[in-house]
């Protein structure tokens, strides 16, 4: 499954994964275009997080291939993929709790050259302002609220100018203001830096509004892939995930 004429940034090609005989993901294929947002939806247990884990190298697929800008990345380590431009956030923000907010942003710079590192230091401070955490720069990360930790984790993914950011449930359980900040930051990052986003979320209306394309997984397989408005009208998506409203029924 790929769009004719568009050179994909990320290609997920025929990915399959089993856990002790249970099929988690089966023959999943889709692409993410450069400078775009792809929303990944589906019911709990449909394989969304497993797929993210495969894309960023935490899990190895049983079959299929992942390509980044045409180069095969299947089987590469997460730290190698980070260096190639794949960043990731988690369902529960994973900040380094005893480091300060600024120090959290410096951790991804460890293996960069000194010159790049100096520029990245400046960028880290700019990113704090970008996500609205500049007043908290010297606070220990554990002192931040859950929503602020999510913003910090998001800013940390951007420090090294990734090509694609994988976000797992970024809007779950956060204050509407934090959610609005995240959506603004994602849109501005796509527009200003040309990064792409692959976002897993149950907040379908938000995802429909911000995504260029959507994929719906049901029972580990692709139920629909395409324009958001088309995907949410697909029978398989309605039956397998969204359900029908009472009026429609």
């Amino acid at each position: 499954m790929s769009e004719a004429g568009a050179e994909a940034l990320l290609t997920v090609d025929g990915i399959g994964k089993r856990f002790r005989g249970v099929v988690a993901v089966k023959d999943v294929s889709f692409t993410v275009a450069p400078r775009s947002v792809l929303g990944l939806i589906g019911p709990n247990g449909s394989g969304k997080t497993t797929l993210l884990n495969i894309v960023n190298g935490v899990l190895a697929p049983d079959q299929g291939e992942i390509r980044l800008s045409g180069a095969v990345t299947t089987g590469r380590r997460p730290s190698d993929l980070a260096a190639l431009g794949v960043a990731r956030t988690f369902q529960a923000a994973r900040v380094f709790s005893t480091l300060t907010v600024t120090q959290n942003l410096f951790v991804p710079l460890l293996h960069q050259r000194a010159l790049e590192r100096r520029a990245a230091h400046r960028r880290a401070l700019e990113l704090l302002a970008f996500v609205g955490l500049e007043r908290h720069a010297d606070r220990v990360a554990s002192e931040l609220s859950g929503g602020q930790q999510r913003l910090l984790e998001f800013a940390r993914t951007l420090v090294t100018r990734p090509k694609i950011v994988l976000m797992d449930e970024p809007f779950a359980g956060v204050h509407p203001q934090i959610k609005a900040t995240l959506i603004r930051c994602i849109r501005e990052t796509v527009a200003a830096e040309g990064a792409s986003f692959l976002i897993v979320s149950h907040e379908v209306p938000d995802l429909v509004a911000m995504s260029d394309r959507m994929v719906c997984l049901v029972e580990g397989a692709v139920a629909a892939w395409g324009l958001p408005a088309d995907v949410i009208r697909e029978e398989k998506v309605i039956d397998g995930y969204l359900g029908r409203s009472e009026e429609a029924a």
Partner: protein, 291 residues
């Protein structure tokens, strides 16, 4: 009377600084990497014999040996990490423990072959000299060994706090998965961390050799001291390890002054049992998984 008390306290603090670096590497490796390195004390023993051989063969002062021990044992630690730890890190916890125990036995036996079980001492020119301050007697060797230990502790603390690598090590200790995903090369950093732990062990061995007689078998006693400091101080915190080392030094110093020497160890280990019962997370309230 006051002079006597001050002497006991000074002695305890200086000893405590040496105990702190004896436990420091063990605490960091256990706290950050989750590796129970029971071979830690074998490297401490090798550090003592490095000081002994350098002094005996070339007349190298133990202070110089202390400085030399750091890079030598750092490299040794990285070799051990690559050869042993990487093979057992993902295996069951017991397998890792048995491997490190085997390494400890191997090093001790090689030590016995090389140096026999005879007790050795390193007698520098200042070994028997003392500084007397207001009636308080401070032996030069303890002052120098304690000072070197304090410098090393300060250096390790500054490294972990102010350098990018140090902060990444702390990040790895808190959340290895997240550290890996933000691009930290966990294997490389783990090797550095283990090397640092062994470097601390080697330097501690030199400091201990300045103060105590030793033989290859003494390492078992030092392992107990190191674990005592780690259990009291908790895992992975330099400041808590320093506090725990000084506490152990003071307890030993006071007990030695007021009761028969044979009962000192008894008191320490009863205290240890009480601490483990009442406050199993140690002074710093830090508990962590182990491999």
């Amino acid at each position: 009377m006051l002079t006597h008390v001050l002497s006991i306290v000074a002695d305890g603090v200086l000893l405590g600084l040496i105990y702190a670096i004896t436990g420091l590497g063990l605490s960091l490796v256990l706290g950050v990497m989750g590796i129970v390195n029971v071979a830690h004390s074998a490297f401490v023993m090798l550090g003592s014999f490095l000081a002994f051989e350098l002094f005996r063969r070339f007349g190298v002062d133990p202070v110089v040996a202390f400085v030399l021990a750091l890079p030598v044992f750092f490299v040794l630690g990285i070799v051990v990490y690559r050869v042993v730890i990487t093979r057992v890190q993902s295996a069951a916890q017991t397998q890792g423990l048995v491997a490190m125990f085997g390494l400890m036995v191997l090093i001790e036996n090689l030590g016995t072959i090389a140096w026999t079980t005879d007790t050795r001492v390193v007698t520098a020119s200042y070994t028997n000299a003392s500084l007397v301050l207001g009636g308080v007697v401070l032996p030069h060797v303890r002052l120098i060994a304690g000072g070197l230990a304090l410098l090393l502790i300060g250096g390790v603390w500054a490294f972990l706090r102010f350098t990018l690598t140090g902060r990444a090590i702390r990040a790895m200790g808190q959340n290895p998965e997240a550290a890996r995903i933000v691009g930290v090369d966990i294997a490389r950093l783990s090797a550095v961390m283990f090397g640092l732990g062994i470097a601390c062990a080697g330097a501690a061995g030199v400091a201990l050799a300045m103060v105590f007689p030793f033989s290859p078998n003494t390492q078992v006693v030092w392992l107990a001291w190191a674990f005592l400091v780690v259990i009291l101080g908790g895992l992975g915190s330099v400041a808590s390890t320093l506090a725990a080392g000084i506490a152990v030094g003071l307890i030993q110093s006071v007990c030695t002054a007021v009761m028969p020497f044979d009962t000192v160890y008894l008191v320490l280990y009863v205290l240890l049992a009480v601490i483990l019962t009442v406050r199993r997370e140690g002074l710093s309230r830090a508990v962590r998984r182990t491999i």
